[in-house]
Symmetry: C2
Subunit: 419 residues, 2 copies
């Protein structure tokens, strides 16, 4: 096991690319596809865990496709505008009723769209092509056998696979399940994500802020980001700045959740207390510490008690961007969700940008229309400022090896929030 | 009032375009922007109902931007690698603490990132540029006043508008609110939508299906579509096929919801019972009956008791497509939501298509890759078949005046389900 990590990463704590981090984690942990059985009304947006086979034919009976008269087709042959065929009206069939009548020769029955074709009939005449006189109906156009009839099973045969495992339950898919009488549906379980903040200076939103203290931003923001990628967040609060307290909270998270996300306390120096505490929870421990990405350097990835623990930077902007790049794809994949629809726009860079070689850089930008063109203006408030992120419209990526992006060059901006 | 409709629509029951229907409805009903006050943890994805102004400076105190030593900048002037300045270590300040110490001349205090700068100090020296020897610290580089300090209010001044009414509460926006200690937030109220199905042949999903009966598809499918566009659905069940029963159910819907959506029973013939029943609920009644759109002809739009009632076709495929075109934009707008992110792809039409002049046609298609190109193959099962919609990847629009779309011509396919 430890050998295996060594094979992959000569020094497990060296700075690695996000792709590499993903690969290392993949060797130690694969999300298990668990199943929830939920009522149809609560299944929207979830992912089917199993193929669905129809237990019934659709339609379940031969039904009229028009309002008009159920007839024996042969009786109408030869009918024309000039020489209508005269049929005897023997009753009516409404939608929702099961007809007890049976058509004899030259008989007909009034019928509504969707109503069952009565015994003896094999077609329907549209009301527009007939005239009723008391209990006689004049038919002005012939119909072929099965004309204006939707035959049993013509849409769907019993035993047909109607939806595949892995499909998202859209309104149309929910309708399809309802059509074949399905009430309960097997869907992929969402990942339960324990969200923990660390930092002795933090207080919970709504608590009194003492002198020297600040509100926890990452807890609420990351919980929201977990929901947005299809996970179920549980906020475990603020870990103290000492190993035993951190371990207690992370252990709690591991006990009841599938994934733990802890932010803060993972940068160089005194802050290393968090990855150290998690490393001591058991093998394989910390797999990656340090991402070749800006923001995101202090990120770590660990596996403890068979579950992944993601350590995010303490700065909110960094924490949210690393979450989107590194954690969200796991949560989506584990829940069977497809990659998100990301809107990108091409824009000209508003000012020259210097980027460090050897790491990806994600640059938050504001979009501005100037001289008929779209410009992306980098936001320079720094990753310590949460307002950076709420002011940004999106971000663009500077690749690992690029050091300079010239003013006016075209960049591809990924919009935040699917908007 | 009635005159007003006449001005707009010489015959209020003539077939009109969806845009026109929207315009007529707009004269009789504008969604009211109501407000919910919700806790931050439940506000994700909602739309702010009011601007948010910060009641505090951010940061709330001058804080260290690095791990190192709080100093008086002037004391470090002249320090160099060869000639460090010697400062007296008088204590330490940790994040979350309020320092009681005060720096005198040539004093310094150990300080952690995020901790308050103690009185007397005006800068911080990075730990990397110092060496500690007992209670003496050698500083190897000078710092300017305010260097490595984040000043109170430098990110945000009290009284600054931090978020605008109409913004969606993304994870970053939730973080911004948390940062300034906000617990409860004013958001636009979602539209409560009463969903009613009509048809004597319908039974609820999960109920025993009697002979001649079919499961209600539209109820569950439309409820899901309401959720997907940001509304709150209430399923009111199945209306019987007679006026008084329909009126009772629609009245119930109007009493507790903002919008009523009823499907089925609005096509020509006996089915006209639904718009008739709704028309009798009061003025202005039915504003539009019949859309120049395929599917969607039997659609109607009414206003009763000051609230809109949308009548959708009974066929599930038609009902869902008309819902998306006509109803969803209203529900989104009333909740303050932006238009959905719709993914479109360009594809070649798989077979020649004939479309009726004088109406828009929405053609559901399956996408196929053939000879390196994307082809859109129309699904021909018809709007009666719910499986049409769940088999389709998306649809393209044939404009009002176009009658033929040639095989191989390029069409713009809007993908279903945001995917």
């Amino acid at each position: 096991m430890v050998n295996l990590i060594r094979d992959l990463v000569p020094n497990p704590l060296r700075v690695v690319t996000p792709d590499y981090a993903e690969k290392v984690l993949g060797r130690h942990w694969r999300p298990k596809a668990r199943v929830d059985v939920v009522p149809l009304g609560g299944a929207g947006g979830r992912i089917l865990a199993a193929d669905v086979v129809s237990a019934m034919d659709l339609p379940l009976f031969d039904r009229a496709a028009v309002d008009g008269y159920a007839v024996r087709a042969a009786d109408t042959f030869g009918a024309s505008e000039g020489a209508p065929v005269e049929l005897k009206l023997v009753g009516s069939v409404w939608a929702g009723e099961w007809p007890s009548l049976r058509l004899g020769k030259r008989g007909c029955a009034e019928i509504a769209t969707g109503a069952p074709i009565p015994k003896g009939a094999d077609a329907a005449v549209m009301v527009e092509h007939s005239v009723v006189r008391g209990n006689v109906v004049d038919v002005y156009r012939p119909v072929a056998p099965a004309e204006n009839v939707v035959k049993r099973g013509s849409e769907l045969k019993r035993g047909t696979k109607i939806l595949r495992a892995g499909q998202e339950l859209t309104p149309a898919a929910i309708g399809t399940l309802a059509a074949v009488g399905i009430e309960m549906v097997k869907v992929r379980r969402r990942q339960r994500v324990a969200v923990i903040s660390s930092g002795a200076e933090l207080v919970l939103a709504g608590e009194k802020i003492g002198r020297g203290q600040v509100c926890d931003v990452n807890g609420p923001a990351i919980c929201e980001a977990v929901k947005a990628c299809g996970g179920l967040p549980s906020y475990f609060g603020i870990a103290p700045d000492e190993a035993s307290g951190i371990k207690t909270l992370v252990r709690k998270g591991l006990a009841s959740c599938d994934v733990v996300v802890i932010s803060g306390g993972s940068s160089a120096g005194a802050g290393d207390i968090v990855p150290e505490a998690i490393g001591s929870l058991g093998k394989p421990g910390v797999l990656v510490h340090g991402l070749a990405m800006k923001p995101g350097k202090p990120t770590f990835v660990a596996v403890a008690k068979g579950k992944p623990v993601f350590g995010l930077p303490g700065y909110p902007v960094s924490a949210l961007m690393v979450f989107d790049q590194l954690v969200a794809p796991y949560i989506r994949r584990a829940a069977g969700l497809p990659p998100p629809v990301q809107k990108t726009v091409r824009a000209r860079l508003g000012k020259k940008l210097l980027s460090a070689r050897g790491r990806h850089e994600l640059v938050p930008v504001k979009l501005r229309r100037r001289r008929g063109e779209l410009w992306a203006v980098p936001i320079s408030k720094g990753s310590g400022a949460i307002t950076t992120l709420s002011a940004a419209d999106g971000y663009f990526k500077v690749p690992l090896e690029q050091e300079i992006v010239e003013e006016g060059s075209i960049v591809e901006v990924t919009m935040f929030g699917g908007g």
